[in-house]
């Protein structure tokens, strides 16, 4: 019997138990409210779970406590001003949010950033991923009562944030990407410092591997819990590590042709066949290591040259529509940009990864036990700003 069958059977059993209890004892299931301010929910997501004993019969996430209406706001901004908004969607990997929007605008203008800017973009993109996922890895322990990893994560993430601040001027919201290139060149000595920091982050990954992934409690809380088969994952539009942990070999860094420098580095897309909580966390750990590898290799290959291609002083984007998606720390993040030839976009559809990743929660939580709600949510990994936009 596969794990999925077991999950379904437990759901059916829970339904039957609910009905039987209601008839025989005239009891009702309990409704448990988690959030919106529960520490386990990474922000203001609320989960309503209907329980039968210890099992979830029905669960629903309630989003929208942080909706900021960015799609509407982009319509009253100019193209260069939009990056300041989209920075705040996934606030742990802010630079990564800017890149697909800028690439979409560049696609409509039919320009491309110079090679140096492309490599630096890719390095900063991957540094955002490391900063984002390292916090996830630390936070994993907290969900199960292990306090140490989160301190290690905050300590080591600081190296990356300092580097991002050194290059861009902003720790969390760099706003550094420009149509046609980058705002500034790298400061002196930055490349050397980054090499040191990346080594520290690789050590951090090893520590987390020992502390958490080798831990017996961690494994028993994660293995075989919250299994998502590949076809269900595709149906819900799961992307990023969540999809790869279900065995879907799909990585936009590798599988599409964008003016980013991933082909200069030698790296690997990790997948896992299991699709359980453990697989999702494990794939993310490996991805952080791969990101460190990518950054380490690209640092030796930053070409000389300009960081900005020639663009008009006042940027008007020609009429057209463009879709650009990149593999962000949380998954596939894309912008569908419609321009009417004006200073600002006519419409921007922001496809954020967490929105789809969280829409599977009602399916994934059916039939699980209450403590597993927390670990499944943690392993699906979402950022509230990325759900609500």
């Amino acid at each position: 019997m596969t794990l999925t069958d077991r999950q379904q059977l437990s759901y059916i059993a829970s339904q039957a138990a609910d009905a039987r209890l209601n008839v025989e004892l005239e009891t009702e299931g309990m409704t448990l409210n988690i959030g919106p301010q529960h520490p386990a929910t990474h922000g203001t997501l609320r989960i309503i779970a209907r329980l039968d004993g210890e099992q979830v019969v029905w669960a629903e996430p309630v989003a929208g406590y942080m909706h900021r209406g960015y799609e509407k706001l982009t319509e009253v901004r100019t193209f260069p001003q939009v990056t300041a908004l989209v920075n705040r969607i996934d606030w742990l990997g802010s630079f990564a949010n800017e890149v697909p929007f800028i690439l979409a605008a560049e696609k409509l203008m039919e320009i491309e950033a110079p090679p140096r800017a492309q490599v630096i973009r890719t390095i900063l993109f991957e540094l955002s991923r490391i900063a984002n996922v390292s916090l996830f890895l630390g936070d994993l322990g907290v969900q199960m009562g292990a306090i140490t990893p989160v301190f290690l994560a905050f300590r080591d993430r600081e190296y990356i944030l300092n580097l991002i601040e050194g290059a861009t001027g902003g720790r969390f919201h760099p706003n550094f990407d420009r149509i046609g290139g980058l705002k500034d060149d790298l400061p002196k000595g930055w490349i050397q410092e980054t090499k040191g920091a990346v080594k520290k982050l690789e050590e951090f990954c090893d520590t987390i591997d020992d502390l958490l992934f080798g831990n017996e409690i961690f494994q028993s809380r994660m293995r075989g819990i919250g299994v998502i088969p590949a076809d269900v994952a595709k149906d819900y539009g799961l992307s990023g590590a969540n999809a790869r942990a279900s065995g879907i070999d799909w990585d936009l860094r590798r599988d599409q042709d964008l003016p980013l420098s991933y082909d200069l580095a030698d790296w690997k897309v990790w997948t896992h066949p299991d699709g359980d909580s453990w697989a999702r966390c494990w794939v993310r750990l490996q991805e952080t290591r791969e990101s460190c590898k990518i950054v380490g290799q690209l640092l030796d290959q930053v070409p000389a040259g300009p960081i900005m291609t020639k663009v008009p002083r006042i940027i008007k984007v020609p009429e057209g529509e463009a879709w650009v998606a990149t593999e962000n720390p949380l998954g596939e993040m894309g912008y569908y940009v419609v321009s009417k030839g004006g200073l600002g976009p006519f419409r921007v559809k922001i496809r954020s990864a967490s929105f789809n990743n969280i829409s599977i929660v009602p399916w994934a939580l059916k039939g699980v036990y209450v403590p597993d709600i927390i670990t499944i949510l943690a392993s699906l990994y979402f950022i509230l700003g990325d759900i609500d936009r």
Partner: protein
């Protein structure tokens, strides 16, 4: 580490990248499956594929594409093609209000109505995506729901319903996601004012930052610029050639 991933990787390089021939094949498949309901297509070479179908065949299109391998649901949303009657709200409030041309002009693959729903599906194995659009009649803003076809469409349709007021037949639960249940209006429609801008107008003109090498390339007119450095970037409408 006992648990290892499978080591197989799809081959990198041009062979794995989507080709335009593949996209043409998709158009043919769709034409076979839904016939005349396929109204218009646009294939931008080496870029992307857009198709427009009739609203009645919205569900059939999704089914046909899913059967053709497009099993990954990317997103679903809508576009309101009405030009905003409020402009971009960045004008000086003391100036004369600008006259806004309110003609509706649709984008790629055209259209006949103000509202269009559009969605994107991806074929993960063949690394190719397609954007599907459908006109939504002004007097009957309803299309069939995809939520039984792609489970992920459920939330996207809920969002689309509250933001654009488009209904979805057979959707299990079209409650608002973000707004209060009794909220009136559909915020992403172009004629819905952005109230923050109504209350406090945009403070001043658009702030444009000069690009690093811009001033060298385009010196002020009174300075005698060398002939070979003649300003080439004064064309504001597009990229300099």
């Amino acid at each position: 580490m006992a648990q290892l991933s499978d080591d197989t990787q799809t081959p990198q390089g041009d062979a794995a990248l989507p080709g335009d021939g593949l996209r043409e094949g998709i158009i043919d498949t769709l034409r076979n499956d839904i016939g005349d309901a396929l109204i218009d297509t646009l294939l931008k070479p080496n870029d992307d594929l857009w198709v427009r179908v009739s609203a009645e065949s919205w569900l059939a299109t999704g089914q046909a594409l899913k059967a053709a391998g497009f099993t990954y649901f990317c997103f679903l949303s809508a576009i309101d093609w009405l030009p905003s009657p409020f402009g971009n709200s960045q004008d000086d409030p003391d100036d004369e209000p600008k006259k806004i041309d309110m003609t509706i002009k649709q984008g790629y693959t055209g259209g006949e109505t103000r509202m269009q729903v559009f969605a994107r599906l991806t074929d993960i194995d063949r690394h190719v995506g397609v954007t599907i659009k459908a006109d939504v009649a002004d007097d009957n803003q309803v299309v069939d729901s995809w939520s039984h076809l792609f489970a992920g469409a459920n939330w996207h349709e809920r969002e689309c319903h509250e933001m654009f007021g488009i209904g979805f037949n057979n959707h299990p639960d079209l409650r608002n996601m973000y707004l209060p249940g009794d909220f009136e209006g559909h915020p992403l429609k172009k004629d819905f004012p952005l109230l923050a801008r109504m209350v406090k107008p945009w403070p001043g003109i658009v702030d444009v930052e000069p690009m690093p090498d811009f001033e060298e390339a385009a010196p002020p007119a009174e300075e005698a610029a060398p002939a070979d450095e003649a300003p080439a970037v004064t064309n504001e409408a597009g990229v300099d050639s």
